[in-house]
């Protein structure tokens, strides 16, 4: 492989990252934001989003692509929070309570998601995406009609005036930033939510440890070749379901962390964009559909959110309209996902073609059998 070719493969591998860095850096001066401000924002957003993005890792290892179905976990987390607010459980205890309530819901939804995806092998992503919408319908039904009527809601402040259903916006004042504020480090003018970061670090350690377990190994095997894994006796379908369940549960916890930082909950659409932002982040970080690392997660969150912080103001300054920046960042978000998927699909096909290249060409065939063991046989006859 020539140096030039190496360079071009490297470029195509990190194309998304490179494009992103360029756009973001270019947008910083016109935005007029100070570097300290941007850094503080990035720190905050790292704490807010990393956990959610980490939830995407396991399904990628298990070869199920980007788990758009993580939204299900987000919904479970929201249900947990609704109950925590309803029962008036405040502070970090409220968060733990929300997690404990959301956990079984997340496991159930993850299991359903895994079953559905096993029926749509090879189309996991689109299926997960639609499944998220479908479950969203059921979530809305549950929150809008069941809560307050079938399941009594003690706290009238969160119920719609008609007597059942939860209000559009839920004030999470009682748990707002309760995790971040347990220990808020102040270093050189930056506020660092220590406990949040410790939890994220613990998750990273868990993921690294998990890769070393039998189950983690099985997941990698299933992700690379389902047929071989099956023939070696690994329960393929079950392994895939477990991967999705873990991802959903992590997404549930991630959404709780996300929302405690935001401080309020748009009951009916807070989860809409969860999958989108998480997927965009991990892709921006250089991950692909089959390959991702913890580093991808953090690089991605930082880059994506740096761009998100900068672009509205840059749009305002450059085009005189904040909306342009707003649209631009959405455009970039969706564009990044589309681009990564295209690059990935394209690369896979190219790699497959290259792998077979050795079999092509008549006279320049590979080492194999130049005129077979002619001499040997001649002797025998």
């Amino acid at each position: 492989m020539s140096a030039q070719k190496k360079l071009s493969t490297m470029f195509s591998r990190y194309a998304v990252v490179i494009i992103f860095v360029i756009i973001t850096v270019a947008a910083i001066p016109p935005s007029g934001l100070s570097v300290t401000y941007i850094l503080q924002e990035i720190i905050t957003r790292l704490g807010r989003n990393s956990f959610l993005v980490l939830a995407l890792l396991l399904p990628i290892y298990a070869g199920m692509g980007l788990n758009f179905g993580m939204t299900l976990g987000a919904m479970a987390g929201q249900i947990g929070l609704i109950f925590a607010v309803n029962y008036g459980i405040a502070n970090w205890q409220g968060l733990v309570f929300a997690l404990l309530v959301g956990l079984p819901v997340a496991v159930l939804l993850g299991w359903i998601c895994g079953l559905v995806m096993n029926r749509a092998k090879g189309r996991e992503m689109v299926t997960g995406y639609i499944l998220a919408f479908f479950i969203n319908g059921i979530y809305q039904f549950f929150v809008m009609y069941m809560l307050g009527s079938v399941i009594p809601m003690g706290n009238k402040a969160i119920v719609l005036s008609r007597g059942y259903g939860i209000r559009n916006t839920l004030n999470l004042e009682s748990v707002r930033q309760s995790l971040d504020n347990i220990v808020m480090l102040r270093v050189a003018g930056f506020s660092i939510p220590l406990v949040t970061f410790i939890i994220i670090a613990l998750l990273c350690i868990f993921v690294m440890w998990f890769k070393k377990t039998k189950l983690g190994q099985d997941m990698r095997a299933v992700g690379q070749d389902m047929a071989v894994a099956e023939s070696a006796g690994i329960p393929v379908e079950k392994t895939r379901i477990v991967a999705i369940i873990i991802s959903t549960v992590l997404a549930c916890a991630g959404q709780i962390i996300f929302l405690q930082n935001m401080g309020n909950l748009a009951t009916y659409n807070a989860h809409d964009q969860t999958g989108f932002f998480a997927v965009a982040a991990i892709l921006v970080g250089g991950a692909s559909v089959t390959n991702a690392s913890i580093a991808n997660v953090f690089v991605g969150v930082m880059l994506l959110h740096a761009m998100f912080v900068v672009s509205p103001l840059a749009g305002q300054k450059l085009f005189g309209s904040a909306m342009i920046g707003e649209y631009f960042r959405q455009f970039i978000g969706y564009g990044v996902i589309a681009l990564s998927l295209v690059l990935y699909a394209w690369r896979t096909r190219k790699a497959a073609a290259e792998a077979r290249l050795s079999l092509r060409g008549a006279r320049s065939g590979p080492a194999k059998g130049n005129g077979k063991p002619a001499a040997e046989n001649g002797g025998q006859a």
């Binding site: 377990t213 190994q217 894994a229 070696a232 092509r360 008549a362 194999k368 002619a374 025998q380 006859a381």
Partner: protein, 524 residues
């Protein structure tokens, strides 16, 4: 293994096959395609397909006790190991990880008690140790930390064998065409390895079409033909020619009619240095000529590349080389051009490539003609649109239904509802409908019953005689080729091993198929 019989829905594939295998013995199992090797191994290995199709008769005993395997995992537990023709390796895993796949060494972790055994932690060093031990037994040099995707093929094969060796219980090792993908020197090392393993007391069943390899290492040879174990002999004083004739040797009376010998003067079709990248059927360097009006047969064992030849010429797989039809060069990799030049192709993959299963028979027969020659269309809306001429299509379909005696309820019936034989006739009709000068027919009788086989062959025969169409027929069934072809080329390892008249001695064919040299065939 005693008195094993197996039939698939009344179609007897194995007939009272018995053999025994001693500790440390290498048994060479040879036979043509369809002789029953694969079925035999499936039975031995407890493949679910056997159970699903009604089980088998006879019994298998290991060390005197009768065993019943309901799944391959039972067979593994009983000490059988199998290396398949296709690699069963995870590309992104290292040698070690593949060798111990799903049998990893593990240490308990705290989560074991909560979520079960799969939360145990892998012990990498121990796994590597085991891999090293298994590789050591093979006596080859394999890096335990190399990724499989970066390995040469030979190493992949060794990794597979090492995986079987690593199971301490493995006493019987079955290798299905293990040398097919190896280079000569790699194959040599493999044979040495097998001998070494046998010396350690492992019994080996070695399946190969390369007879010289079988002769080189087997201590006993079992020849299967048409489901019968025709020969079970020690490897003493026999040569390749003997085995070859046992393999293919039907008495001539069975073969049925022979075409009268014909001679052709004119060359119509010339292939020079053709290579085709068809997965599993790679063609490396093939050259041959076809005379006008003849039926040219191409035979050979599965996977040797005979199927790649028509597929490559018709542009279905990436190909290169020079193909000339009637003095005009045929552009490769462009099916439309190939069809337009007057060539037609009946694919061996009837259901995958040959038919539109969800469409009517009319569609299936007329489609190629519509696309290639613009036939069976009529103008509609003052010539603005061309429309399918459903009436003409139906007439065409009716004509062939009658001509080929296709059994169907109506011409509107969906192709998937027909039986295999009738589907094959539809494929033929599709090719006939474009009135080709040169027709490739690939495995025309695969998977259809005897009556239909005869009908298909007769159809080809008549079509050739009546219209003078040149036919190139590719088939795994030698007898079939010999009954209808004027000349037969045998393909081996992606090259033409030799071209013989159908009247040539059966052992000649056998030798060519078994990797004997071209020169030898010429001499003989």
């Amino acid at each position: 293994m005693e008195h094993v019989s197996k039939d698939f829905y009344g179609n007897v594939v194995l007939h009272d096959v018995s053999f025994e295998l001693r500790e440390g013995e290498i048994l060479g199992l040879v036979g043509e395609n369809g002789a029953g090797k694969t079925t035999l191994m499936s039975i031995l290995f407890g493949m679910p397909v056997i159970m699903e199709t009604g089980g088998f008769q006879g019994s298998i005993r290991i060390e005197g006790t009768e065993v019943h395997f309901s799944s391959p995992f039972d067979a593994l537990d009983a000490g059988l190991g199998m290396v398949h023709q296709e690699f069963s390796l995870i590309p992104g895993f290292t040698t070690t990880e593949n060798i111990v796949l799903n049998r990893e060494s593990m240490r308990r972790s705290v989560l074991n008690d909560v979520f079960g055994e799969r939360m145990s932690v892998l012990q990498r060093d121990r796994m590597r140790e085991r891999a090293r031990k298994a590789i050591g037994k093979l006596g080859v040099d394999l890096n335990p930390d190399m990724l499989v995707s970066e390995m040469p093929v030979g190493h992949k094969q060794f990794t597979e064998i090492a995986r079987e060796i690593d199971r301490e219980k493995t006493r019987i090792l079955i290798l299905d065409e293990p040398t097919a993908v190896l280079t000569e020197s790699e194959a040599e090392v493999l044979l040495q390895t097998l001998k070494r393993l046998a010396a350690e007391g492992i019994a080996i069943i070695f399946i190969s079409h390369r007879l010289q390899e079988v002769l080189a290492i087997a201590s006993r040879i079992v020849v299967l033909r048409d489901g019968h174990a025709v020969k079970d002999t020690a490897n003493e004083n026999i040569n390749m020619r003997d085995i070859a004739s046992w393999m293919v040797g039907r008495s001539l009376g069975e073969g049925g009619q022979r075409s009268e010998a014909r001679s052709f003067a004119e060359n119509t079709f010339r292939v020079q240095h053709l290579w085709v990248d068809m997965p599993g059927e790679t063609v490396r360097d093939v050259s041959f000529d076809v005379h006008r009006g003849e039926i040219f047969g191409i035979g050979g064992l599965a996977g040797q590349g005979k199927l790649g030849i028509p597929n490559g010429i018709m542009g279905l797989f990436p190909a290169g080389g020079e193909v000339v039809l009637d003095g005009k060069s045929v552009p490769l990799n462009d099916p439309a051009k190939a069809l337009a030049m007057g060539m037609a192709f009946v694919s061996e993959d009837r259901r995958g490539v040959g038919l539109l299963l969800d469409e009517s028979l009319e569609w299936n027969i007329a489609f190629t003609a519509i696309q290639v020659h613009g036939q069976y269309l009529k103008k509609a809306l003052f010539g603005l649109f061309s429309q399918r001429d459903e009436k003409a299509m139906e007439d065409l379909c009716q004509e062939y239904v009658k001509l080929l005696d296709i059994k169907c309820t109506s011409t509107k019936q969906k192709a998937k509802e027909l039986s295999g034989g009738n589907q094959q006739k539809i494929c033929l009709a599709k090719a006939f409908a474009i009135k080709p000068q040169l027709m490739f027919v690939s495995e025309p009788t695969r998977g259809i019953d005897v009556g239909a086989k005869k009908l298909v062959l007769d159809t080809l025969h008549h079509y050739n005689r009546d219209f003078g169409t040149t036919i190139v027929m590719v088939s795994s069934e030698l007898e079939e080729l010999r009954s209808i072809c004027d000349r037969i080329a045998i393909v081996d390892e992606g090259r033409i091993a030799g071209i013989l008249p159908p009247t040539a001695d059966i052992s000649e064919f056998g030798l060519l198929m078994s990797g004997a040299a071209v020169e030898e065939a010429v001499n003989a």
